[in-house]
């Protein structure tokens, strides 16, 4: 078994007065060693909740209703909290979308990284300091000795994001969950962060789950892509296959809805909006927005079928279209 992470049948609900928000609905995902998996979809499709669920960071009113997450063969759901705590940061690390709020404003960035090394890797103060500087150098922070003594507010957004990445990678995790790591950054800085992630994954063999809504970022660095809509994974394929032969109507709509620099396009926004996740439609959750929806789509949820080797899609229409040709 080469799967590093195996998510099976994961369901996460958030209880509110009106009922349960079904934020993640029976999803299955795997990530292999050294692989970069992209997780794409609109806001509210459950991308971030999935990454929090992997780290077991879903707090009430949120609740994992069903499913399991296996990491390196270990069922994370059954680990005692103490052991799970040692997983987080050491084996599975996270880079969040808002680096400035994720960093402690009262500690210098160097202190934050070395403290992490002392806790998780058991290094002495001096060793931790040395390794911290190495990490800052690795993520290409200029003048690391000087920057290590500065506070987050003294660094730019791109610099804070690099500190977050240095921090996440300091303990050589096997899996990095990167939640929109380049959103809000200028293109040239974003390009550097992506290069850095790709390079670090190649160098350390760490797997990366990259949560993003930017298809450009996906095409740029991901090996495989899972497309999420309204809490469900609707399609999963190797990156080339996904862009050349998208099988799900939502994936196709997503690609057609973005302006691009490399060619002239006619913009077609995705029709409708993400359905309410409180008592969502029982069938395919995309049926209400889909131009090819059939009666069957509104009644039962389409199962995942294989469209090509390694390429799975959940769409009745796809099966039908394939049946005819």
């Amino acid at each position: 078994m080469t799967e590093m992470l195996e998510i099976s049948d994961l369901t996460v609900h958030f209880q509110i007065n009106q009922g349960a928000i079904e934020a993640v609905d029976h999803i299955n995902l795997t990530i292999r060693r050294g692989e970069i998996l992209g997780l794409v979809g609109e806001s509210g499709s459950g991308k971030s909740v999935t990454s929090f669920a992997i780290l077991r960071l879903i707090r009430p009113p949120g609740r994992v209703v069903s499913g399991s997450v296996h990491f390196d063969g270990i069922d994370l759901g059954s680990l005692p909290e103490e052991q799970m705590r040692r997983m987080r940061g050491a084996k599975i690390a996270m880079v969040s979308q808002t680096p400035r709020t994720a960093l402690n404003p009262l500690l210098t960035v160097g202190r934050q990284i070395s403290r992490l090394l002392m806790v998780h890797a058991g290094l002495s103060t001096r060793e931790a300091e040395k390794r911290m500087l190495e990490m800052l150098r690795l993520v290409r922070i200029p003048a690391p000795e000087k920057r290590a003594n500065q506070y987050p507010h003294q660094l730019s957004g791109g610099m804070c994001q690099r500190v977050m990445i240095a921090m996440a990678l300091a303990t050589s995790p096997q899996l990095l969950l990167a939640d929109e790591p380049t959103t809000g950054l200028d293109v040239s800085i974003a390009a550097k962060i992506l290069d850095l992630l790709r390079e670090l994954s190649a160098k350390t063999g760490a797997a990366i789950m990259l949560v993003t809504h930017d298809l450009g970022v996906v095409a740029d660095i991901c090996d495989r892509v899972a497309v999420m809509h309204a809490g469900q994974v609707v399609e999963c394929a190797p990156v080339r296959e996904l862009f050349h032969n998208p099988a799900h109507p939502y994936t196709k709509a997503l690609v057609r809805s973005i302006p691009r620099v490399d060619r002239d396009v006619v913009l077609e926004p995705i029709p409708g909006s993400v359905p309410s996740l409180v008592n969502p439609p029982s069938g395919c959750r995309y049926a209400g927005r889909c131009e090819w929806a059939m009666d069957r789509c509104r009644v039962s949820r389409p199962p995942m079928v294989e469209a090509a080797p390694g390429h799975v899609v959940a769409c009745y229409g796809f099966e039908e279209r394939r049946g005819t040709c």
């Binding site: 609109e42 806001s43 200029p142 730019s156 957004g157 791109g158 200028d186 293109v187 040239s188 800085i189 974003a190 390009a191 992506l194 809504h213 930017d214 298809l215 450009g216 970022v217 996906v218 095409a219 740029d220 990156v239 080339r240 862009f243 997503l254 690609v255 809805s257 973005i258 302006p259 691009r260 620099v261 490399d262 396009v265 913009l267 077609e268 926004p269 995705i270 909006s273």
Partner: protein, 329 residues
């Protein structure tokens, strides 16, 4: 004559603090941040001019000078032939009807304590002689124009989604029938599917109402879609100004080229231009003399120590680079 003409616009902010006080005491010039340093361009009637550049390049400051939220340090801003850079609040007022702005953050730019109706109506109360009934009718017309249901009129900003909030901002900006609208990153805060709808709405309104836009963004793909011409800014100056098609087909200034090369393209087989600049944008406080890109540009030559002028190298194509004749075919 262009609708908006900007010539040698400069906006300096005094740095203040201890260094400012010391400089004053020593009888020296107070240190300033040159946010906008000699910027000139035109916006023709009915066109969309894109203004791109990275954070801190001065694009929002240019916008604020244009709508006179800031008083420029020097230079001229002419709207329909009339100088507005030096007007005071009172004399500027009649122009406010014609020149409007949509801000980046759709939430922060709405008043949380006013309903949608009051916010859109406020512009009409201030700038038109409409009576209450006419205002009502106009507000409803505007809601339809931006694609919002009439049922949203009595809602407050917190009851709206991000996309709806931005539509309210747009409705408010076009309420007084302006001719020129400055759009400062109007789509950046929106999610993918909402973004494409906002882009189409802006395009429809421009055609429908005969508006001219200054569209500010760091999202080059959106600029390519909306703008007919594009100005690229770096550290307070325009480095390239060109027809959109030509700029994206063949960027000439090294900065433009690096900027375009950095945009991730949704095509896994895309061939990438690996042209990159060294380091990061320096602080605009101590800007080097000569070409501002000199320290980061891999093509820099000794001549770059002299400031390159923004030269017209082909009809309608302006580039501020000494080496551009060598760069172009």
């Amino acid at each position: 004559m262009a609708l908006v003409e900007i010539r040698d616009l400069q906006m300096h902010f005094p740095l203040g603090g201890i260094s400012g006080t010391l400089a004053r005491l020593r009888g020296r010039d107070e240190p300033v941040l040159r946010a906008v340093d000699s910027v000139s361009f035109d916006v023709e009637a009915g066109e969309t001019l894109g203004l791109v550049g990275e954070s801190g390049c001065g694009k929002s400051t240019v916008a604020r000078c244009l709508v006179r939220l800031l008083k420029p340090t020097a230079g001229s801003v002419r709207y329909a032939g009339k100088e507005i850079a030096t007007l005071d609040a009172q004399t500027m007022r009649p122009f406010r009807r014609d020149i409007q702005m949509v801000f980046q953050d759709p939430t922060a730019s709405l008043n949380p304590r006013l309903s949608v109706r009051s916010m859109v109506e406020e512009a009409l109360t201030l700038h038109t002689k409409f009576d209450a009934k006419e205002r009502r009718a106009r507000v409803e017309e505007l809601m339809q124009e931006v694609g919002l249901g009439r049922d949203l009129l009595d809602r407050y900003p917190h009851e709206l989604s991000g996309g709806q909030r931005q539509r309210v901002n747009i409705a408010r900006a076009i309420a007084t029938n302006p001719r020129f609208v400055v759009l400062d990153e109007p789509t950046s805060a929106l999610d993918v599917s909402l973004r494409s709808r906002a882009i189409l709405l802006l395009e429809k309104l421009r055609e429908h109402l005969g508006l001219s836009y200054l569209f500010i963004s760091h999202d080059l793909a959106t600029v390519k879609y909306l703008a007919s011409r594009v100005a690229v800014m770096y550290l307070g100056s325009i480095v390239e100004l060109s027809d959109t098609r030509d700029l994206f087909a063949k960027p000439l200034h090294p900065y433009t080229r690096a900027l375009l090369a950095a945009v991730p393209v949704p095509d896994p087989d895309a061939r990438r231009d690996d042209f990159t600049l060294a380091g990061e944008i320096p602080s605009p406080i101590d800007v080097a003399t000569g070409c501002r890109l000199r320290g980061r540009c891999p093509l820099a030559k000794p001549i770059c120590a002299e400031k390159p002028p923004l030269k017209e190298i082909a009809p309608g194509r302006f580039v501020a680079c000494h080496l551009v004749s060598e760069l172009s075919p």
